[in-house]
């Protein structure tokens, strides 16, 4: 019982260590292993490590995209500029707002759908497929479809609202509604994938626990809060981490649907970095923002990981 509570990663690590200690590799095997590793290592160096090093370096320069051979070290100028950049501040707050809203919403929707999909009722396969389908669609396609449906004058959603006696809403063209609209669309498009993961978790819960609870007179809510939710804790933690990190990478939806507007209300950090780097060609400043944002994400990841470990210990 104790073993089941431990992280699967710990088990893998222990198995690897045990294997390493018990095996003695032949020279040929070692060469083969390095041979297999080399392409991946080269690719990782080229496309992950090198860009990180370059971004770090460029963050301290005045690198202008059209003058790649004319870069000058400018100390902390880019970082000082960040302090007085109001749009950057707003983009950061928008990103935080998105993460804070979308993670609980998306996971709640995913769990709700998984609970329904877990029922042995007719047509549940269709339901499961229908809710999973947005996960296989391109985010660009989803964003365009929703933009058309949310058109304030002729969109499907507003037609429905009008027929229900509710006034037409501006949605994406309103600074006060645009971000909430993007949160909802993002949660809708992402929850199908997480529904499948929750569903796998639900299938693994020992049914005898529910039977025992029923014998003890537990009602459905008690079964949900005392059996289902605790049993899904490792999966939930995993989904919280992955969804949070994914949410910080928000760029496609605002880029396609609002261009970061109205009035910068949906501008996110990644979009701002892209705009500064490629549209305004100010790579130095974009790299400086990237550095600071990466640092923020590293600290956040460490925090979440620590929390995750504490949860496991508990």
């Amino acid at each position: 019982m104790k073993l089941e509570k431990r992280s699967p990663f710990i088990q893998v690590r222990n198995t690897t260590e045990h294997y390493r200690q018990s095996q003695h590799y032949k020279k040929g095997e070692v060469i083969s292993a390095y041979g297999f590793l080399t392409p991946a290592v080269i690719l990782a160096l080229l496309f992950i490590v090198l860009p990180i090093i370059l971004a770090f370096t460029y963050g301290f320069t005045d690198y202008y995209l059209l003058k790649p051979n004319d870069k000058h070290f400018n100390g902390l100028d880019n970082f000082k500029q960040m302090l007085s950049d109001d749009v950057l501040k707003q983009s950061f707050l928008n990103t935080i707002k998105f993460v804070v809203l979308v993670v609980p919403l998306q996971l709640s929707m995913a769990l709700g759908l998984a609970l329904i999909a877990n029922k042995k009722i007719r047509g549940v396969g269709v339901f499961r497929t229908a809710y999973f389908s947005p996960a296989v669609l391109s985010l660009v396609v989803i964003s365009i479809l929703w933009t058309v449906m949310l058109n304030p004058t002729s969109g499907l959603i507003n037609e429905i609202l009008s027929n229900l006696g509710i006034g037409k809403q501006p949605f994406l063209s309103s600074a006060s509604q645009a971000m909430y609209t993007i949160v909802f669309i993002s949660a809708w498009s992402g929850c199908g994938y997480q529904m499948m993961i929750f569903l796998a978790g639900l299938k693994n819960i020992d049914h005898q626990m529910y039977e025992a609870a029923e014998i003890d007179g537990a009602n459905p809510f008690q079964k949900f809060f005392y059996i289902t939710l605790p049993s899904l804790k490792p999966i939930t933690m995993f989904l919280v981490i992955t969804t949070t990190i994914q949410a910080f990478k928000l760029i496609v939806q605002p880029m396609v649907m609002t261009g970061g507007g109205p009035d910068y209300s949906t501008m996110t950090i990644l979009q701002y970095i892209y705009e500064y780097g490629f549209r305004h060609r100010n790579i130095g400043y974009a790299c400086a923002i990237t550095l600071m944002f990466t640092l923020f994400l590293v600290i956040l990841s460490i925090g979440i990981k620590k929390l995750f470990r504490e949860e496991n210990v508990a």
Binding site: L66, K67, P68, P152, S154, T258, F278
Partner: protein, 459 residues
């Protein structure tokens, strides 16, 4: 089995290393052209035909090769690849650039000037606006292969349903009119639309289509292209003549006055919407449209039932007698890092082939591109069977010959254009701001941002 794995590893490694070593976009044996037009688009096809004919007529010279790198909405994709090529010192011999981008690339030393290499009198063959668009600090860098234009179109069925006194507000196709007259007409149309049961107004959404939806979704240049001319028509601009001074220009009294008049479109009940339906004018949802020249082919080919009439782009101030209508488009430029004079001469010879009178005529017939050569403008056919087509092209032709003005030449144009469209035009439209005090604040805020960004160009 192990040998197989080892072999595969070595192959993978070799491929990785080959991938790292890129071949230059240009080589001595051929002249490479990059264009943003996709190969299956009429524009891409017309370039391919032109290059083919060059190769056929010059069998002994370097072979010219065209590569199509399709762009997304605002030029990204193509521009990203171009910027990557700049970073890698791997630029093609000739490439296309949007007119307003020429200054930034020239300022960075990436473009080669053309004056010293062109045939005598070749530059004079271009229209004034195209020469202005391609000239940076007195040197000519970009040969525009196509001009553009914006006019006002109206739905004839809807206008015919209006009371006579309102209908009389529509100018003739050969008459100038002012933004105030345009606003009065628009307001009257909206008032009528909300009280009539006339079937022509059955789908009515707003009085005028402005394509600000494109601006809202990130294609900022559309806003600048469409509405900077309102400032020009009031004898002001979004940037000074030096291309880097905005304070006292963008936030000047005249600019604020022009923008305040633009803002009246959004005074409740609004006459235009920042979230208008897709193809609103095409499908009878607006009576008027501020329309780009591409509308003519689009409407005649795909909306044959729409009776569209065309009148000139309105002037902000009736007493203004300078150039004030939108113009400009993509142009061919050459790699400025070419040091071989002989090769540079050959490259410019190819550019001339792509932009001469004959090419300009071909482009008009194959893609409806407005000719950029003075001698080819007459090629615009205004005597077809389609009277709507004829009227639209008559208006556009007049503007090309008489009133078209190039967008500002500024090394920081992308930022300037984006800030103008996003922080002024879009804010006015989305917040429905119509008072000059708030608009003045918008312009002052934008000036502060642009000024800060432009510091690097003043060094």
């Amino acid at each position: 089995m192990r040998k197989v794995f080892l072999f595969m590893t070595i192959v993978a490694l070799a491929l990785s290393l080959i991938g790292c070593k890129s071949k230059g976009a240009s080589s001595n044996e051929k002249i490479v052209i990059w264009t943003q037009a996709s190969a299956d688009h009429p524009e891409g096809k017309m370039f391919a035909d032109r290059v083919k004919s060059y190769n056929e007529k010059h069998p002994s010279g370097p072979k010219v090769e065209i590569q199509n790198i399709t762009r997304a909405g605002a030029g990204s994709g193509y521009i990203d690849k171009l910027n990557a090529a700049i970073t890698a010192n791997n630029m093609p011999d000739i490439f296309t650039l949007d007119g307003p981008d020429i200054a930034a690339y020239a300022d960075s030393g990436l473009l080669g000037e053309l004056d010293d290499y062109m045939s005598d009198g070749f530059k004079d063959g271009f229209t004034k606006a195209i020469v202005e668009q391609g000239t940076v600090k007195g040197k000519f860098y970009g040969m525009g292969y196509s001009d553009s234009g914006v006019a006002v179109m109206y739905n004839e069925d809807m206008i015919n349903a209006l009371p006579k006194d309102v209908k009389a507000l529509i100018p003739a196709a050969d008459q100038d009119w002012t933004w105030d007259q345009f606003l009065t007409l628009t307001r009257k149309i909206d008032e009528f639309a909300k009280t009539t049961n006339n079937p022509a107004f059955a789908n009515y959404e707003a009085a005028v289509s402005t394509l600000l939806t494109d601006v809202a979704s990130g294609v900022y240049e559309t806003g600048t292209y469409y509405f900077t001319p309102l400032l020009w028509g009031n004898n002001t601009n979004i940037v000074g003549k030096d291309g880097v001074t905005v304070d006292g220009v963008l936030n000047s009294e005249k600019s604020v006055e022009a923008l305040t008049k633009f803002a009246q479109l959004f005074k409740e009940p609004a006459l235009a919407s920042v979230s208008e339906s897709e193809k609103a004018f095409h499908s009878g949802k607006t009576a008027l449209s501020v329309s780009g020249f591409w509308y003519v082919n689009e409407l005649t080919n795909n909306y044959p039932d729409l009776k569209f009439r065309t009148v000139r782009y309105p002037k902000m101030n009736k007493d203004f007698d300078g150039l004030y209508t939108p113009s400009g488009s993509w142009a061919f430029v050459r790699n400025g890092q070419e040091e071989d004079e002989k090769r540079a001469k050959k490259v410019v010879e190819v550019m001339e082939w792509l932009n001469n009178d004959e090419a300009s005529k071909e482009y008009y017939h194959k893609n409806g591109s407005i000719p950029t050569r003075v001698n080819s403008i007459s090629e615009i056919d205004t005597k077809t069977d389609n009277k709507y087509h004829n009227e639209a092209w008559t208006v556009l032709k007049y503007q090309v010959e008489n009133t078209n003005k190039a967008r500002p030449v500024s090394p920081g144009y992308p930022y300037l254009s984006e800030t103008f469209a996003k922080d002024i035009l879009l804010k006015i439209a989305q917040n429905k701001v119509t008072d000059s005090a708030t608009i003045k604040k918008y312009t002052d805020d934008a000036v502060k941002k642009i000024d800060k960004e432009f510091e690097k160009y003043r060094k």
